[in-house]
Symmetry: C2
Subunit: 256 residues, 2 copies
């Protein structure tokens, strides 16, 4: 684990691998962590199988400062993430008394039966710290450096708010995007190599898109922690796009 | 490697981990492979770093029948996937004469300079078999059980058509989705457990969605190779949704 914090994301769910569902949690988590200076370095997607989850958790928690899992903490039979996390850390798992009381009260207020299935959502690995779920009540949890979130994107996103203050922040990574509609990578690749050599502290990426013959182009993305260098490279990226025969446009800065 | 074919997907690109881009290639690849009876069992997302790519490729190609990589085969400095694949297989990499001729001709027809950067796209690991790119010309390639595709979704999708005939197919996995708008998982989880016990050859998943208090519900998904069992379970899934106080609806069958 390096001095500057890093993160990995582990998406759990057959529905992501089968193509039934297109994931959005990776992007949401990365967007949340970026302004905290915590880059996501790796992501894995595994099925709802305990051994696959355990193996991935145990790989990732050793390699990165933080691991965020999504999915598999609901009330149904295919929700096995809490058990898998307990197994990964080789600890027990049981009904958490505070969660039982909280959920019993919540369901009573809603006039909803607190069924055995719903009680399953109170099963928390021994030693884990709870993560608040302001959307639907049943909490996530933190086990050492591993945060276990719901799979429903709105709930996962809300849980991050409770986790943020627990994280060690890093140096803010700034990002600049210059778009060239109609541009082709091959016309600018040489100039980009030289630019990358001039700005070794920035990372420069080239991302082509292609929707159709009339709708294609390239996004040039520079990122780094040096705001002055980023301002300087913006001008140069515009020149490169112009040289490639396209009109450059700096995209609105994403919130950082 | 089991008798029934399996697949892994390796998505390569900083833009996916930074949150700049939301991936669609995993879903497209899974959708393409499903009717061939080849389930995707794992997916990883890594950055544009050679050691990360090599390590993931070497893990996955031993674990699954096929590996599909996307991204990093364009003409710019951050396109390093071909080199990484050569390194993973410990083979050389050089300009492929057929690809050089093909691309030179194509760019000549387009009246476009065949620059050194564009020539980079003709660098193919020794021993690899080419994969056709009907969209933009520069090919992907197959190295043993690893298929390397472009990152642009339209190109990656088109390349799959050339790969399909090379794949060993498995038993077709059928899928049935019964939707319950307004349904809550906790009201049906018990009945689902019993159903899962009655239909051990089918996999039954429960996927809640939550957009707002007025727009939430559960999709119940059964999948397996036994069409008769799937037809039988449809009726039971409808009953379970009704018992949960919601109106069941079988979603249109996805093309299988």
């Amino acid at each position: 684990v390096s001095a500057s914090p890093t993160a990995a994301v582990l998406l759990i769910g057959d529905e992501l691998l089968s193509g039934r569902t297109r994931d959005i949690n990776l992007q949401n988590i990365a967007d949340y962590l970026r302004p905290l200076g915590i880059p996501v370095k790796e992501c894995r997607v595994v099925s709802d199988e305990q051994e696959d989850i355990v193996s991935a958790v145990n790989d990732l928690r050793k390699m990165y400062t933080y691991v965020f899992t999504t999915g598999g903490i609901g009330p149904t039979h295919d929700d096995i993430t809490a058990d898998a996390i307990a197994a990964a850390f080789d600890v027990g798992i049981d009904f958490h008394p505070d969660v039982l009381i909280f959920l019993a009260k919540r369901y009573k207020q809603m006039g909803t039966d607190f069924t055995d299935s719903r009680k399953r959502m109170a099963r928390i690995p021994d030693g884990a710290v709870l993560v608040k779920n302001p959307v639907s009540g049943a909490p996530g949890f933190q086990m050492e450096n591993v945060f276990t979130l719901a799979g429903v994107p709105q709930i996962a996103r809300a849980m991050l708010e409770d986790i943020g203050p627990r994280l060690k922040t890093g140096k803010l990574l700034l990002r600049l995007t210059v778009q060239g509609a109609g541009l082709r990578e091959g016309d600018i690749a040489g100039a980009l190599v030289e630019l990358a050599e001039d700005y070794r502290d920035l990372s420069i990426g080239s991302y082509p898109w292609f929707q159709s013959v009339s709708d294609h182009g390239v996004n040039l993305v520079a990122s780094g922690t040096d705001q002055v260098a980023l301002k300087a490279i913006e001008t140069q990226l515009h020149e490169i796009v112009l040289l490639g025969g396209a009109q450059p446009k700096t995209l609105a800065e994403e919130p950082n």
